[in-house]
């Protein structure tokens, strides 16, 4: 029997935890289980510390939890909420070790009423753009196969520029990226995006336009849902890719652009060709060019040979028909020949000069003359 159990006291064999160790272990366990999640609740007792951090309690009918929002995030959330304000918070559950308290570290806070209004505004703009045909699949243009000059509308300080440059440098280093800088969130973002998109139309030689930003919270993507930005994007003269880095949400620019990419890196992959593919194509064309010429030369040689054969055949034909004609004419000539008449027993008398003696008067007594017979002359005399 175990003595420690009987006495119900720890022994040397038992592991004894310090409070701190337990807190660390629970904290690790808790924080390992939860990614940042959206939590809905009512804010009470929001206190703003001199450090700028906000501390408040989030509660519903059943439970409550302490929350901490650090200065940087708190400054982006606007005014501290009044007691009873219903909010969504993006938070990571954790443990405040010093006090052993379960808490939420909040990175975003949105009043639920504002979310409702934003959703209504989004639906309104979406309906307008839809009515005007900006989402029409028929107006989508094809992305050029070998875009060399890519205009990139994004923040000069954002991750999107770096991502697009990295991917393009790797895939298609003969490209040129023209950064048209614009704020992509916060005040002035809409106006700057519109101005930048209009500027793209004035840059000569642009093949393609990417508009986008790196990942951000839903409310940071508001500019990409604005009617003005969507209309300016639709008016860009070259094919467009929208790359608003938020996998879950689709922004209205995604629907207006000719192509939607989940991230700026993905947009770069769609925008430019792969140099290795292009080099393979060039190799393939080289081979086809060479074999094309060889084929053509062979064909020409074969044609030449065929032409020579035909020429010979033609000459032979002409010669043969000429020969036949000559033979025919010769036969006719032969029939008409006086020699042929002589052959039948006739003779032609001729005087010494070769004149044919045709009448009695031509014959003079004692004069000699020749008689032309079939096989020669016979001398004769008139009696």
């Amino acid at each position: 029997m175990n003595l420690s159990l009987a006495l119900n006291i720890p022994t040397a064999a038992d592991q004894v935890w310090s409070v701190g160790e337990l807190s660390v272990a629970v904290k690790a366990l808790l924080e390992g289980q939860f990614p940042p999640i959206w939590v809905r609740g009512e804010v009470v007792q929001c206190k703003v510390w001199s450090s700028g951090h906000w501390y408040f309690t989030l509660r519903d009918r059943r439970s409550q939890v302490k929350c901490c929002m650090f200065r940087l995030n708190a400054s982006r959330a606007g005014k501290p909420p009044e007691d009873g304000t219903e909010v969504f918070v993006l938070a990571k559950p954790g443990l405040y070790e010093d006090k052993g308290e379960f808490q939420l570290i909040v990175s975003r806070m949105l009043p639920t009423s504002a979310v409702g209004q934003k959703q209504q505004e989004l639906e309104r703009v979406k309906a307008l753009l839809h009515r005007d045909g900006l989402f029409d699949p028929a107006r989508k243009r094809a992305i050029p196969g070998y875009a060399c000059t890519v205009a990139l509308v994004t923040s000069p300080d954002g991750a999107a520029l770096k991502d697009v440059v990295t991917v393009t440098r790797k895939r298609w280093p003969c490209a040129r990226i023209l950064l048209v800088g614009a704020r992509v969130q916060g005040e002035g973002a809409v106006e700057e995006l519109v101005r930048a998109l209009r500027l793209v139309n004035r840059i000569p030689g642009v093949d393609l336009c990417i508009v986008g930003r790196g990942g951000g919270a839903r409310e940071d993507l508001a500019a990409f849902n604005s009617e003005a930005v969507c209309r300016a994007l639709a008016a860009v003269r070259v094919p467009t890719i929208s790359a608003v880095g938020h996998e879950i949400d689709i922004s209205l620019t995604d629907l207006v652009a000719d192509l939607r990419a989940a991230t700026p890196s993905a947009a770069a992959e769609m925008a430019v060709a792969d140099r290795r593919d292009a080099l393979r194509l060039v190799d393939d064309l080289s081979v086809r060019l060479a074999s094309g010429l060889t084929g053509r030369t062979r064909l020409a040689a074969a044609r030449l040979a065929r032409s020579a054969d035909r020429l010979h055949a033609a000459v032979d034909g002409v010669l043969s028909s000429r020969r036949n004609l000559a033979e025919r004419l010769a036969a006719q000539l032969d029939a008409l020949s006086p020699l042929r008449v002589l052959g039948r027993g006739f003779a032609v008398p001729m005087d010494a000069s070769g004149r044919v003696l045709k009448q009695r008067a031509d014959f003079i007594r004692d004069e000699s003359f020749r008689l032309r017979v079939a096989d020669g002359d016979v001398r004769a005399r008139v009696e």
Binding site: L179, P204, G205, L279, V282, L285, L289
Partner: protein, 79 residues
């Protein structure tokens, strides 16, 4: 800084399209030999240029700036 100007070389897409056209003509049966030779020479020159363009190139990143007068200027960026 320099003023934005269109590139003087034709787009690579046009180059490759022309090459494809040349090869097709060479492969067709009705191209005469002397025309084929001219096409071949053009093809070789274009292929060489395209390859050089693909191999030698280094990505250029430039910022587009609109000046007060409305002129567009490009500046190289070390991105």
């Amino acid at each position: 800084m320099r003023k934005a100007e269109p590139s003087s070389t034709p787009p690579l897409a046009d180059e490759l399209a022309r090459l494809e056209e040349i090869v097709r003509k060479l492969e067709a049966d009705d191209t005469e030999l002397d025309a084929a030779l001219v096409l071949f020479e053009e093809g070789v020159a274009r292929l060489r240029a395209a390859r050089e363009r693909l191999v030698a190139a280094e990505l250029k990143v430039q910022a587009v700036l609109e000046e007060a007068g409305g002129d567009i200027r490009l500046t190289d960026l070390d991105a």
